[in-house]
């Protein structure tokens, strides 16, 4: 969790005497090493509100093609909230509001006229808890292609098989595609959800703590799977597990909670963003250091 002396520590570190709320959120430009792929997401000064509550303040970061980007940080720091702005899932929360700009491959996600439906067809999401539909395994995977208008049985069969192969689930379920998706174990159900997301051939896969309900073996399989598919997809993963971030991710964003002592409000901020190795081995911010070394959090 977050410790009270955070603000004090932060202030001693800054070169410019800016108010804490502003200065904390900007990762230094040098922290992000040169991009390897194209810039998929670019968010600029994003603040997210739930009604009047400001959940996240002033997040700016870029996410690159065919990389795995991990969001880490203590509970309540807004990493999931930021993730959900990337495919407009926050639109479903009554009262949620996004300020600032989020660009996806150069197009603004929050411009007027942008359809969340079109956004989500390109940017898929895997949730914290496995949530297969109460349908057969086959229908779970075929759901996305079907809503995209694919009716051809042979084509659907092919998509289902490929997606389940990609999610490393095919061998376990190939003989029971007509059985309910709810009958699978937690790890299998999560891989089914990943297969379901991959079946619509998204450009980006967002993962919100996909392994938090799984045992280490199931977690290992999903991490292997992520490494395998990253050549075709761009992946953003929220995780509470720092080892997981070091194991799978190319870049890591560390978020933290900033408490305003006067009004006693809390808001999430992006503290530091960079190559995973740099974040864990040579963190520039003392809060990052405290978190990744296990002193807090």
């Amino acid at each position: 969790m977050e410790q009270p002396e955070q603000n004090v520590v932060a202030q001693t570190e800054t070169k410019m005497p800016k108010p804490a709320a502003l200065q904390d959120t900007r990762p230094s430009e040098g922290a992000v090493a040169g991009p390897t792929g194209a810039e998929v997401f670019k968010s600029k000064n994003v603040s997210i509100y739930y009604s009047s509550f400001r959940a996240v303040t002033d997040v700016s970061l870029s996410i690159y093609e065919n990389e795995i980007t991990a969001f880490i940080g203590p509970s309540g720091c807004g990493k999931t909230t930021v993730l959900r702005t990337l495919n407009r899932m926050n639109d479903l929360v009554p009262g949620a509001r996004v300020q600032g700009e989020v660009h996806y491959r150069g197009a603004s996600l929050y411009a007027p006229g942008v359809s969340p439906i079109s956004v989500r067809r390109r940017i898929g999401m895997v949730f914290q808890k496995p949530n297969p539909f109460p349908k057969s395994i086959y229908d779970n995977v075929a759901y996305g292609p079907r809503i995209n208008g694919i009716r051809n049985k042979a084509k659907l069969d092919e998509i289902v098989e490929n997606s389940l192969h990609q999610a490393a689930l095919w061998d376990e379920v190939k003989d029971r595609l007509n059985k309910s998706g709810l009958g699978l174990s937690g790890g299998q159900a999560q891989r089914l959800c990943i297969a379901r997301t991959l079946a619509v051939e998204p450009d980006v896969v967002l993962m919100d703590e996909p392994c938090s309900a799984l045992d280490p073996i199931a977690t290992g399989r999903i991490e292997d799977l992520m490494r395998e598919i990253k050549s075709q997809y761009t992946i953003v993963i929220v995780t509470h597990n720092m080892q997981q971030a070091t194991r799978v991710s190319d870049r890591t964003a560390f978020y933290s909670v900033l408490r305003d002592e006067k009004s006693d409000t809390r808001t999430g901020v992006l503290v530091e963003y960079g190559r995973t190795a740099q974040i864990f081995e040579d963190p520039q911010d003392s809060r990052t250091q405290a978190y990744v070394t296990g002193r807090v959090g």
């Binding site: 999401m125 539909f133 109460p134």
Partner: protein, 298 residues
């Protein structure tokens, strides 16, 4: 220092004696008593109806026509006009209200949110649940029957007024139980709201919605009061549900059972058993159909 420690006394893991244990016993007994008390009248009704009605039920009783005058003994004519009337009128009422009620519930839960229209509709449908059935009959009498005459359609309108709020309320409660993560999963695949509702929310809630609709149908099938002013009660079969007076099983139970003639009383019991059997068959048929649709939900 001893090498072997003295044998430890095993902890007592039994439920402690005293008030907590007695409370548990008392509540268990109370619940069993409550269950038995609930079952007694149900079983008694069923037993009496079967005992008195089974002897009169025959193929001729079910399909014969017309319904004989009250003074005639049992075994002449049959209840076909009433069976036909109940099936047609209840069926028509179901066709009108179940789709409407489910659509209304979808609006309330999926689209309306907290806006004033949804709140108003929800409130009005709750109020409608409490309106006595005879008032619904009078309402249809004054706005429909006075202008267009008695008909099965008017009866279906009256029954529909009774069914609609029940269907709305029960479907709404079922839709509310569908977990949001299922909706989110569908949205995250790029589904539109209508698609999410049709392909994820409705199938997940189907079992409960069908149960609620069945309760409403069974209740409507047994209603007498709203039909008194809307279909009249005749003895000839009227297959045209849209015009002309009609009849129904509950109406026939009412008009036969209040007579001093044993033949009429027997016909009343027979009609009661027929009505219960129709509802029972309907319930089983609907269960079989929904089991097919919900076979993946567990």
């Amino acid at each position: 220092m001893t090498a072997v420690a003295a044998p430890q006394q095993a902890p007592d893991l039994r439920e402690p004696k005293g008030w907590r244990r007695s409370k548990n016993r008392i509540m268990t007994v109370l619940m069993v008593i409550a269950f038995v008390l609930t079952i007694i009248p149900l079983g008694f009704v069923l037993f009496t109806v079967i005992a008195k009605g089974a002897s009169i039920i025959s193929w001729q009783f079910l399909t014969g026509s017309p319904i004989p005058p009250n003074v005639l003994p049992a075994g002449i004519g049959g209840m076909w006009p009433a069976v036909l009337g109940t099936l047609l009128i209840t069926g028509l009422a179901t066709l009108m209200t179940v789709p409407l009620g489910i659509l209304g519930a979808i609006y309330l839960n999926e689209y309306g949110g907290r806006n004033w229209l949804a709140a108003l509709i929800g409130f009005m449908s709750d109020v409608m649940t409490g309106v006595p059935s005879i008032v619904m009959g009078l309402f249809i009498f004054s706005i429909w029957v006075l202008h267009f005459g008695y008909s099965g359609l008017a009866g279906a309108f009256a029954l529909g007024c009774l069914m609609l709020p029940v269907v709305i309320r029960s479907s709404y409660e079922m839709l509310r139980l569908v977990p949001d993560p299922l909706r989110e999963a569908s949205y995250a695949l790029g589904a539109t709201k209508s698609r999410v509702t049709l392909t994820v929310v409705l199938p997940a809630a189907l079992g409960g919605i069908v149960s609620g609709a069945l309760l409403a149908i069974a209740r409507a099938a047994g209603e007498t009061a709203p039909l008194l002013f809307t279909i009249l009660t005749v003895t000839q079969a009227n297959p045209n549900v849209f015009s002309g007076p009609n009849t129904s099983l509950p109406s026939q139970i009412f008009s036969n059972a209040t007579q001093p003639y044993t033949g009429a009383q027997d016909r009343g019991w027979g009609a009661a058993l027929t009505l219960i059997a129709i509802c029972f068959i309907l319930m089983i048929a609907a269960r079989i159909v929904t089991a097919r649709f919900t076979r993946y939900s567990r």
